[in-house]
Symmetry: C2
DNA sequence: CCGAATTTGTAGCCTCGACTACATTTTGGT
DNA sequence: ACCAAAATGTAGTCGAGGCTACAAATTCGG
């Protein structure tokens, strides 16, 4: 956290609001993280198996099928996926676009982690948690860093 | 949420279960992220102002005081903080130790981001979300990377 | 030192993501 | 073609984390 701005001398400064905003950002990112993961996995399943079934999704995430179905319902509510009863899940154009963005970002994060010396398997696992919190500015920096070496 | 660690890791764990485990890890990290942030902020307030009051904590995080008080109650349940009615919050030794670890990790992440070219203000904001998902292996790598350049 | 403002605490409600248990539909083997 | 197994869907519960509204304690200004 940003304790660079010392509060001792000036207890109530604009930095405080900025800090609150940062925390809010980090928190709300978490609410979309699940949807991003689902969309990415569904996209993968569609590409590799031709279909995405709730049970497969559930198994991949290590959750119960009921949980997967509920989250898929949320995806549908958000306009990212479609499905008809007992017929598998598909992505809307919006869903596909999101999947693509998420995929690229994930790859960039893994590459960056590996580039600074994180072991490949750790990088893969860490990226899973990190990727949802990386800003566009950071992604640009990652790209430049990876290109210029 | 995500309080239950499922999909136990075994040597013969198939890749699918490994993936499920990674996701589970990322999810459960979220559940501790809030506690880490609170502990760090309380530690800062205690150091800079001599006391940590629920209202200050709430304002810094941009949440209602009721939410802050509930989370502080959880901190107490987890053995990280203590408080008596109307008398501010204090950290247990465990809480202080956690705050110290979190502070160091945050600094490392910010330094790493800056080192790979992320603008300082973005780095500070991004670190807020990222820091809770960085493994020890990655932190070691970050340290080496920062040292060797 | 007393009443008003501030702080702190409590209660009740909401959504999300997880679970289990049960019901229903589809699919596959013989 | 049939029945059993697998997949899918539904219902109800729980804790975390958020909110508002209200109640009680503390602190401050006059």
């Amino acid at each position: 956290m940003a304790k660079q701005e010392r509060a001792a001398a000036r207890p109530d400064m604009p930095t405080e609001a900025a800090q609150a905003h940062r925390f809010g950002k980090a928190r709300s990112a978490q609410s979309t993280a699940l949807l991003e993961d689902y969309v990415e996995l569904i996209s993968d399943l569609l590409a590799s198996a031709g279909e995405a079934r709730p049970t497969d999704v559930a198994r991949r995430f290590g959750v119960s099928h009921a949980t997967a179905i509920k989250t898929i319902a949320r995806l549908k509510r958000e306009g990212l996926a479609t499905s008809k009863p007992y017929r598998g899940v598909f992505l809307t154009p919006d869903g596909e676009a999101l999947a693509e963005r998420v995929r690229n970002r994930h790859r960039l994060v893994v590459d960056l982690l590996v580039a600074v010396g994180v072991p490949a398997d750790s990088a893969e696992a860490d990226a899973e948690g990190i990727e949802h919190h990386v800003s566009d500015a950071a992604l640009d920096a990652f790209r430049d860093f990876l290109a210029g070496r």
